[in-house]
Amino acid sequence: MSAPSIPRVHFTELSARERAKALLEAGTFRELLGPFERIESPHLSPQGVVPQSDDGVVVARGTIDGSPAVILAIEAAFQGGGIGEVSGAKIAGALELALGDAEAGTPVRPVLVLETGGIRLQEANLGLLAIAEVHAAIIALRRYVPVVGVIAGPLGCFGGMSIAAGLCSYLIMTREGRLGLNGPAVIEEEAGVAELDSRDNRRVWDIMGGEQRVAVGMADTLTEDDPDSVARAVREAFAAGLPERHRSAKVERYETRLGVIDSSQELDGQKLRSIWAEERR
């Protein structure tokens, strides 16, 4: 039996758990360390912050195109998707288990649904260490199987997890999604409003929105914001197999790309597209 597809549902309106379900084949979703196990962050309530029973990360096994898969979906609404000790360990730990399977010759398809401001400040260095372990696991795992990242919602993907996105074999984005190391508000706070007005959405999405990132090759697929389209893009990414060379390993290409930039000149998304398109020829 296949689930009826309901039109006009936005992927970004779904919770992390519903997103994981949407990416797996109908009826195959099985959650690990779900809410009733209450493996919540031990660090939040001592600091006066209400924890969530799954610490904001859903780990789900199931299948994609008949192959075993694992989805790691971050819940944007809880603490801005911030990565703490538990949520970080859920992601890193699941990727490490997937690595074990891959080494044993039975690869599991890993998908990261990234919606996060980065490290959760209340857990600080615990989040930092966890994210380093996520990076390590992605790099080890993608020797065997593509690691696919999805950045769908307007919260976007920032901080240490934006580096994780940079390490993914394939990155799928919607127009609403955005990807950057530093969030616009932090840039404005640190460098001043002249550097970037964080409320200027047009400019923010011009730099780091899904359309721009795909246009310059820092993400691979621009998809519509509906569950079927995102799920299709994920299936197609796995069907494409491992990339010949991962983006984060293309050192000569990006050193050349940076070399042609005149950093004293006014630059925007469109100009960058044409500069780098020329460099490609």
Partner: protein, 97 residues
Amino acid sequence: METLNFDFPASRPVSRRVHVGVVGSGDLEILLEPLEDERALVVVRTSADGFGEVWRNVLDRFFSRNDVAASIEINDQGATPGTVSLRLAQAVEEARS
């Protein structure tokens, strides 16, 4: 952050456990589980201190209209009484479906 405990008389059991909601701004998550006793046991952890009376009123009203013998855990990030009732109704409906 404040932790509040409530206990209401109830007799009608639920058939399965249910999780709804998220601890996001103005929202809450509910973990509802079957309970052997004829009571509704509610534990609330809320980000907003000093609203014990408001919670008592909202829950009183809900359990006077809904007979639910269950253990209910609520993690709240400043939800309005309306949202609390809505989420509770959603959880109970799912637990009985």
